[in-house]
């Protein structure tokens, strides 16, 4: 069960991929959308994040992928206090995080191949070094025949798979997915979940934010539940 001790020093958190310590967050002068959030994501763990709409899941994910700063409290990314990170250090942290958004955030002017290869291209890798791996991954998520297609010509489920392929292509240390199975059929959802568990088995820490109870019940892993900006933790046994 993930837990946090507020007096833990950053150097001691190195086995935590992400650590939140008393984190609160508000937008502008509005009310706090996250309150006193404290948790660890131990290296190599697999966890679900659930909660109703408006509970603060997206805000919490924004803090994890460094799109927002907390209003209070401390967050450690891979043992680094994020409040002390210089702007030029953010890309290195982000490259260690694979992020899947509910709204995909694919680039419509690029093909499926280019979208999936984007993290590798941005990291300065040569195209000929990654072309095979990217093509294989695209085949694996079932889009081998749509490698040249542009995302806006794909269905929601197909775009979701492009986003997932892009998130995992760089073999990130942490994979964060926001409703990754929200737009796919049950068979594809199971296949994607298998991809996530396989990545986790290979050492990637996985955090999946979802409403999908079936998905949550399919694995015996810790669950973080957000309600009204506050976090509860627990564990649900796999149903089968």
């Amino acid at each position: 069960m993930p837990s946090a001790s507020p007096d833990t020093r950053p150097d001691d958190t190195f086995e935590s991929v992400i650590r939140f310590d008393g984190v609160g967050m508000r937008y502008g002068r509005g009310p706090e959308v996250l309150q006193d959030i404290t948790f660890d994501l131990p290296r190599g763990s697999f966890q679900f994040l659930t909660g109703p709409s408006g509970a603060g899941k997206t805000s919490l994910l924004k803090l994890i992928y460094l799109a927002q700063r907390p209003s209070r409290g401390l967050i450690w990314h891979f043992g680094r206090d994020s409040s002390k990170l210089h702007r030029r250090e953010l890309p290195d942290i982000r490259r260690r995080i694979g992020m899947v958004f509910q709204d995909f955030r694919t680039l419509d002017h690029l093909s499926v191949f280019e979208n999936v290869a984007l993290p590798l291209r941005v990291a300065g890798r040569k195209r000929k070094e990654y072309a095979d791996d990217v093509a294989e991954l695209i085949h694996w998520v079932g889009l081998g025949d749509k490698m040249d297609a542009q995302p806006q010509t794909l269905s929601g489920g197909e775009q979701q798979r492009v986003a997932i392929a892009r998130a995992v292509v760089g073999q990130p240390e942490l994979l964060v997915a926001d409703e990754p199975t929200g737009n796919v059929d049950p068979a594809m959802a199971r296949r994607l979940l298998r991809l996530f568990t396989e990545l986790n088995r290979l050492g990637t820490t996985v955090l999946i934010a979802t409403h999908d109870i079936t998905l949550v019940r399919s694995l015996d892993v810790p669950i973080m539940s957000l309600a009204d900006g506050r976090l509860n933790t627990g564990r649900r046994k796999a149903s089968a």
Binding site: P91, L107, S111, F113, R121, V122, K128, A135, M147
Partner: protein, 301 residues
């Protein structure tokens, strides 16, 4: 890895990460081309002002004029000839030419008419003195020589004129350079504004690039490259039209100099300016875009 090893479905070339935006880029191209055109004209004007003012200053500083004052009982033409001979004998004088009464009357003709002046009307005669370029004789040297010979005279070293001309020439140069700097500054400001607008229009792209770990410098370079190319293309267009105007002025303008009015001629220097203009436009555009985008990105964390 050889191309044969690539999966058959993998595209062969990388697509540009910044989507084209012809709706925004076309007007910007037109504005940039016009600014480069104006900058080229200002640069050519600056070159012209420099050359012409150099000529003015050289003309005035290299000459003196001696007025031989008519005095009862003296032969002014003989005095003028003697003054020319004395002047020519001085070190630092290249040539001295004595004017005749007929030439003096010809100079006065526009004001006094062509019917001839009364023979007893005293008319000062002029001696035109061309000084040596190196170590020229001074007005004092000439005055001393003429005083010693007892020739009634007045020496004009054009100091009053040359100071005014030098001032005017310097002002013309400064104005041309100032205009050039202003246009370059305006071009940089327009490009910076356009780069910011372009950044805002491609926010989703920038967000996606940040998300996958792109450095600010990487994103700024994308914009820098795009605006460099735009600057080069606009520079070529602007320089071409400036070249056309320069040719028109060179071959369609007056063939001979009218006093102080310069005759335009297209020089190698002008050609170099027009060739350099697109490169400079590209560099200014790239630098402005990079600074604007980097500045904007820095403000986000």
């Amino acid at each position: 890895m050889s191309e044969e090893r690539l999966p058959p479905t993998a595209p062969e070339k990388s697509a540009p990460l910044l989507p084209a935006d012809s709706g925004r880029d076309r007007p910007l191209f037109a504005v940039a081309a016009i600014l480069v055109f104006l900058a080229c004209l200002a640069a050519l004007g600056a070159r012209g002002a420099w050359t012409v003012s150099d000529g003015w200053i050289a003309d005035l500083s290299g000459r003196m004029t001696v007025q031989i004052m008519p005095v009862d009982g003296r032969d002014a033409e003989a005095d003028a000839a003697e003054a020319a001979a004395l002047a020519e004998a001085l070190p630092g004088v290249r040539r001295a030419v004595a004017g005749t009464r007929a030439e003096a009357e010809a100079l006065l003709e526009p004001w006094l008419g062509g019917e001839g002046l009364p023979a007893d009307l005293p008319v000062p005669l002029l001696v035109d003195i061309e000084l040596a370029a190196a170590d020229p004789a001074s007005a004092d040297d000439l005055t001393a020589a003429l005083d010693a010979a007892g020739i009634p005279h007045r020496v004009d070293d054009h100091a009053r004129w040359s100071e005014a001309v030098v001032r005017t020439a310097r002002l013309a140069r400064l104005m041309a350079l100032g205009l050039l700097a202003l246009i370059a500054g305006a071009a940089a400001a327009v490009i910076a504004f356009a780069a910011r607008a372009s950044l805002a229009a491609r926010q989703s792209v920038v967000d996606a690039l940040h998300l996958v770990g792109a450095q600010d410098g990487y994103i700024a370079r994308l914009f820098e490259r795009r605006f460099f190319v735009l600057g080069i293309r606009a520079g070529i267009a602007g320089a071409f039209f400036a070249f056309a105007i320069a040719l028109l002025v060179t071959y369609g303008g007056p063939g001979q100099s009218e006093g102080f009015i310069p005759v335009w001629s297209f020089s190698l220097w002008d050609g170099a300016v027009l060739l350099l203009a697109p490169v400079l436009a590209g560099l200014i555009a790239a630098l402005s875009a990079r600074l604007a985008v980097a500045n904007d990105l820095r403000a986000r964390w």
